[in-house]
C-alpha cells in the first residue's frame, strides 16, 4: 500500500513582537503532494526566512499548522491513531541541517542506530541488530570499526550526517524529509551525501523532500523543484524547465544571483533586500540586459 503526503492550504503563523498584527506569517497557502510512486526527489528552494524549514516541521509533525492540513495516507497527521502514527513515524524520516546538534554528546553514536532498531523492532537479537547496523553503515560508505563505539565529537560533520543516512537505510522509509542536510558539509562530502541519497531513491524507492537554498544542489539532484518566497510557493515544475525557463521574477533573481565564474560577467545592477521581513525584493535585478533589444 502506498501512502502519499498531502499538504493543503497550510498556513503557519508565529507570534512576533513588532510585526504587523502581532504575528508573522511564515507559510501561506502551501499545497503539494509527495507521492512514493514513482520515487522522486522534490526540492524546495528559497532564501533564509522564506519558510522552507517551517514546511519541513509541518510535514514531520513537529509543528501544527495554524490552518490547513497535512495528510498522510489521506488522514490528518495530527489525528492519527496509535498504529497509524507509528506507521507515519516510521515512513517519514528526517535528516536535519546541523550534524553537531542532532547527537547527544554524552552518548555514543551507536545509540541513534540502536534506538531505531529497538523502537521499530528491526531485529530479534543483538547479533542480528549489529549485523543490520553494520550493513547500513557500509551502505553509506562508513567503516563500522571507525564509527561504532565513538562519541559524536570524534566524528567529522560529514561522518555524522552519514550516520543519520545509515539510520534511514535501516528503516527504509517511504519518505525522507531532508532540511538543508548538506549546507554544513564541504563540496566533496556534499557530493557523496547527495549520491547516497540518489542511490536510496533508485534502490529502495524513497521519495525525498529536499530543502535547500543552494540552486546548484537542486540541479545536481534533478527531479522537480518548488521555489518558495515569503512563505508562498511561487513556482514549481521539473528542474530543467524551472532552471532554464524560470517564469517567476523571484526564481530569475535567485538564478541571477549565483556568482558566475567570469570576471567579464559581473553584476551591474543592485538588489535590495528587506531582510527584516525576510524577503527579497523580486523583480529588480537591473543586472540583466533587456531580453528584447529596444529599437
Amino acid at each position: 500500500m502506498t501512502k502519499t503526503i498531502e499538504l493543503s492550504g497550510v498556513q503557519q503563523r508565529f507570534h512576533a513582537r513588532g510585526a504587523a498584527g502581532g504575528y508573522l506569517t511564515a507559510v501561506e497557502d502551501a499545497s503539494f503532494t509527495l507521492s512514493p510512486e514513482p520515487p522522486q526527489v522534490v526540492s524546495l528552494v528559497g532564501q533564509s526566512g522564506s519558510g522552507k524549514s517551517t514546511i519541513a516541521r509541518n510535514v514531520l509533525g513537529l509543528q501544527k499548522p495554524t490552518s490547513g492540513t497535512v495528510k498522510y495516507g489521506g488522514k490528518d497527521i495530527f489525528k492519527l491513531n496509535r498504529d497509524e502514527y507509528d506507521d507515519y513515524r516510521r515512513n517519514v524520516q528526517p535528516v536535519f541541517q546541523d550534524p553537531y546538534a542532532i547527537f547527544n554528546p554524552f552518548y555514543r553514536v551507536d545509540r541513534v542506530l540502536w534506538k531505531a532498531v529497538k523502537k521499530f523492532g528491526l531485529a530479534t537479537s543483538r547479533a542480528e541488530g549489529l549485523a543490520l547496523i553494520e550493513r547500513s553503515l557500509d551502505a553509506v560508505k562508513l567503516d563500522p570499526d571507525r564509527v561504532l563505539g565513538r562519541y559524536p565529537h570524534q566524528l567529522s560533520g560529514g561522518q555524522r550526517q552519514r550516520v543519520m543516512l545509515a539510520r534511514i537505510h535501516m528503516l527504509r522509509p517511504a519518505f525522507v524529509i531532508a532540511d538543508e542536510p548538506v549546507s554544513m558539509l564541504d563540496a566533496q562530502v556534499r557530493r557523496l551525501f547527495l549520491d547516497i541519497l540518489l542511490d536510496f531513491q533508485r534502490e529502495y524507492g524513497m521519495t525525498t523532500l529536499f530543502i535547500t537554498h543552494d540552486l546548484s544542489t537542486v540541479y545536481y539532484l534533478g527531479g522537480s523543484v518548488m521555489v518558495i518566497n515569503r512563505g508562498r510557493i511561487v513556482e514549481r515544475g521539473p528542474v530543467d524547465v524551472v532552471m532554464h525557463e524560470p517564469s517567476h521574477p523571484y526564481t530569475r533573481l535567485l538564478l541571477d544571483s549565483i556568482p558566475q565564474p567570469d570576471p567579464d560577467q559581473r553584476w551591474t545592477g543592485r538588489i535590495e533586500v528587506d531582510e527584516l521581513s525576510g524577503t527579497a525584493e523580486a523583480g529588480t535585478p537591473k543586472a540583466t540586459a533587456p531580453e528584447t533589444p529596444i529599437i
Binding site: 532564501q47 533564509s48 526566512g49 549546507s183 554544513m184 564541504d186 563540496a187 547527495l194 549520491d195 540518489l198 537554498h213 543552494d214 540552486l215 546548484s216 544542489t217 540541479y219 545536481y220 539532484l221 534533478g222 532552471m243 533573481l253 535567485l254 538564478l255 544571483s257 549565483i258 556568482p259 558566475q260 565564474p261 567570469d262 570576471p263 567579464d264 560577467q265 559581473r266 553584476w267 543592485r270 538588489i271 535590495e272 533586500v273 531582510e275 527584516l276 525576510g278 527579497a280
Partner: protein
Amino acid sequence: MSDDDIVLEISGLEVGYSTNRGEVKAVSGLDLAVRRGEILGIAGESGSGKSTLAVALLRLLKPPGKVTAGSAIFRPRGRSPVDLLKVEGEELRVLRWSALSYLPQGSMSSLNPVMRIGDQFRDVILEHAPDRKNTLSELIPRLLAQVGLEPDVARMYPHELSGGMKQRVLMAICVALEPDLVIADEPTTALDVTIQRVILQSLVDLQRDFGVTLVVISHDMGVHAQLVDRVAVMYEGKLVEVGDVRQVYKQPQHEYTRQLIESIPRLGRRAS
C-alpha cells in the same frame, strides 16, 4: 611602484602546525604584496592554507600553529611601517580595528549575544578612538546606513537579526574607524545567494567610499570573479599564481588554477 602604494608586503612567510607526526607546513615561502585601495582575493580549496595566512597576519594564530619565518610589513597611513609578525602588546592593540580589521566568516558567533548592536559599536569605537565619543550618536546610524541597515538595528540584539544582517553589522564595525586594511575570511560562506550578492555589493561600496583595502579569502571562484581586482591562488600552502582577475580567469598560468575555475558547480552538470 613606490612603497607608499603597497599597504602590506609579505615576504618568505612560513607557518607550521606541530603535530604528533612532526611539523605540518600550512604556508610555505609565501611572497605577496597588497596594493593600497585594491580588493585582493585569495582563492584555494579547504586546507590550502588561506585561513592560516589570515590568522597569522592578524596575529590570532594559536598554538600548535607557529610562524617560523618571514615578515609582513604593514604601512598604515600616518603611522610608521610595522612588521605585523613581530609587533607586540600595546602597539598591536592600537593597530587593531583602527588600522587593521577583520571580517570573520558569516557565522553566528562573532557578535556578543547579550549586548545590543549599538553597544558593540560603542565598545570598539571608544576603545580605539575615545576622541569620537561626542560623534557616536551620529556615527552609528551613518555606519549602519552604509551597509543598508536601518538605524533601529542599533537597539536590537544579535538574535533578532538574520545571518546576512549580522554579517553587515560586522562589516560596519570593521570600517567604523576607517582602517587601512580589512581582512575578510570567507565573508559570504553559509549565506544564501541573494544575501551573498548584497554582501558583495556592500563590500564594493566600502572600498569605493572609504578607500579601504580589502583582502578577501574565499574558496568560491564565482565570488572572486564578481568582486576582486586581483586574485592570488593558493595550493598546499604555496602561492601558485597572482594576477589581474580577468587575466587569471582567461589564461590561468597554473594547472591547479584552471581546475579550480572549472570545478565550480554550474547549472549544467549533474549526477549521472
